[in-house]
Amino acid sequence: MSSDLASRASQSKDISRNKKKLDGKGQFWLVFRYFALTILFVIAALPIYIMVINSVKGVTGVNQSAAFLPPTSLNFGAWGPTWKILREPMIRTLVFVLQSSIISAIIGSINGYVFAKWRFKGSTFIFTTFLFGMFIPYQAIMIPLTQFNRWAGIGGTIYVLVFAHVIYGIPICTLIFRNYYQAIPNELIEAARVDGAGMVHIFRTIILPLSIPGFVVVLIWQFTSAWNDFLFAIFLTGGSPKLSVATTALNFITGSGNQVYYGNNMTASLIVSIPTLLVYMFLGRYFLRGLLSGSLKG
């Protein structure tokens, strides 16, 4: 299933075995491929390159015509003040993102278990409805969500975001866990059932211990998407500074009117991107797996 999909896409193809001598044409194509790959590399890396080099040029990054060039001297002048503004929102984001990811991972794993191993009449239909939930745009539920929050008494607190991301995370988490659990052989569960273990007991003693990689995938996925979310954040918090999270705080810094302070803006953007970039760098394999699970078919 999707884990095969991910391993297919994430493992480099073994090229050693077809290392036959390249003829002239083959060599030309090899050079061509590297050339094309390098061009694409430059394009892909350009925006982050701009961000990094301009974040060490001080607050304004004065010289526009040299903006593509690396700085002649390191100037971290923009880092202190930006960090001061971003520190509190980033910690707040971290806390709420962790909460919402953990909750939705747990719910997702229970759902996924039921859908994968305890099929009941109509479960395919319900599962398909779940999947549709993945495609519902944020916009379609935003207005009632604010009213619901007020009704539930969590309006104006960070829990509006926890709640929103949990709800939105359930479909994708369920899907990832379902695919993951489908790879667990049914015999294992049958055997436990013969021994008299119930549904919950099997889940606790057999499924959960096997779920660690699944949890890593789901947590990373939820972490990244909740951290990077802007629409819910700006909408549900109403731009209140008490509730500003990483993306809204960043938008406040870089928003219209402040566009001349490029050095400052780039620094702020970089700081906000660091957590997700770190996750990507160190756990990229799991990140990719989460991405591909979103594609349903594997």
Partner: protein
């Protein structure tokens, strides 16, 4: 929740202080149709969707084709192509806003500066600030962000095809081009479909990206931006809900048949 939004969209709640929730039928929708801002946002969205989908497909496929047979350093290239997916658009918007700065000629910055230096002045343009090129310019960062994802999907697709198939065709004397055209691509049609659906639904609800770069500017307005404006700036909840419903319907039309198809094939297994 969706029902709630629907109810709103059929109501008279056109301002925050006039708490009138009476039923208004399709009044909000007919209003939308006559609203030039709405049709403008709608056509912008269509343009964006077409450019974005075609562009991402092509560049993702090129990346996958280049990597597909395996090459030294594959992992390195693959990770660089994919990293944009991990970054918020509010953050990357800063870079892109600078890259797509509209200043031209001697004052050029960003991409225009590169074109200026390379004497490709005809390529310099106003990017997202001109109504002519706005949606093309906006599609650029979107393509940049999603190409790596499409590449990963294609790669997974290619690698799911057994090598024997290729070998067999090669033995039969098929050229590389013919192998791709007649053997590999037909096998990938489910992958193509999946990618179309994913890109399509992302495109319909696009918001962060455009907001991050151009805020609420008129030339780059799409449905999601307009909805936001209607709700926040004009406090017209009913109309905002109606726009949300339009977005939802657009997505549903594409996604529901796909999901039914997927669940049918799952059941057949």
């Amino acid at each position: 929740m969706i029902g709630w939004t629907l109810k709103f969209s059929f109501s008279n709640r056109t301002s925050a202080w006039k708490k009138d929730n009476s039923f208004a039928g399709f009044a909000r929708y007919t209003e939308l149709l006559q609203d030039p801002e709405f049709t403008h946002a709608f056509s912008n969205l269509l343009k964006f969707t077409i450019v974005f989908m075609v562009g991402t497909m092509i560049s993702g496929l090129i990346m996958a084709l280049l990597l597909e047979k395996g090459i030294k350093g594959e992992g390195f290239f693959r990770s660089t192509y994919l990293y944009p997916m991990a970054i918020s658009f509010i953050a990357m918007g800063t870079s892109w806003r600078w890259l797509m700065d509209s200043a031209q000629g001697p004052k050029a910055t960003g991409l225009n500066l590169i074109f200026e230096k390379m004497h490709l002045t005809f390529l310099e343009n106003a990017w997202y600030t001109s109504i002519k090129s706005s949606m093309f310019a906006m599609a650029l960062p979107a393509i940049w962000q999603m190409s790596g994802y499409v590449m990963a999907l294609f790669l997974a697709g290619f690698r799911g095809i057994p090598d024997d198939l290729r070998e067999a065709a090669r033995v039969d004397g098929a050229s590389e081009y013919k192998i791709y055209r007649h053997i590999l691509f037909p096998q990938l049609s489910p992958t193509f479909l999946t990618i179309l659906i994913i890109l399509g639904h992302i495109s319909m609800k696009v918001f962060d990206l455009i907001y991050g770069i151009a805020s609420k500017g008129y030339v780059t307005k799409v449905l999601a931006i307009y909805m936001w404006q209607v709700i926040f700036d004009f406090q017209n909840y009913a109309k905002g809900a109606a726009i949300a419903v339009v977005i939802l319907v657009l997505i549903a039309v594409v996604v529901i048949p796909y999901l039914i198809y997927v669940s049918k094939t799952e059941e057949a297994k």
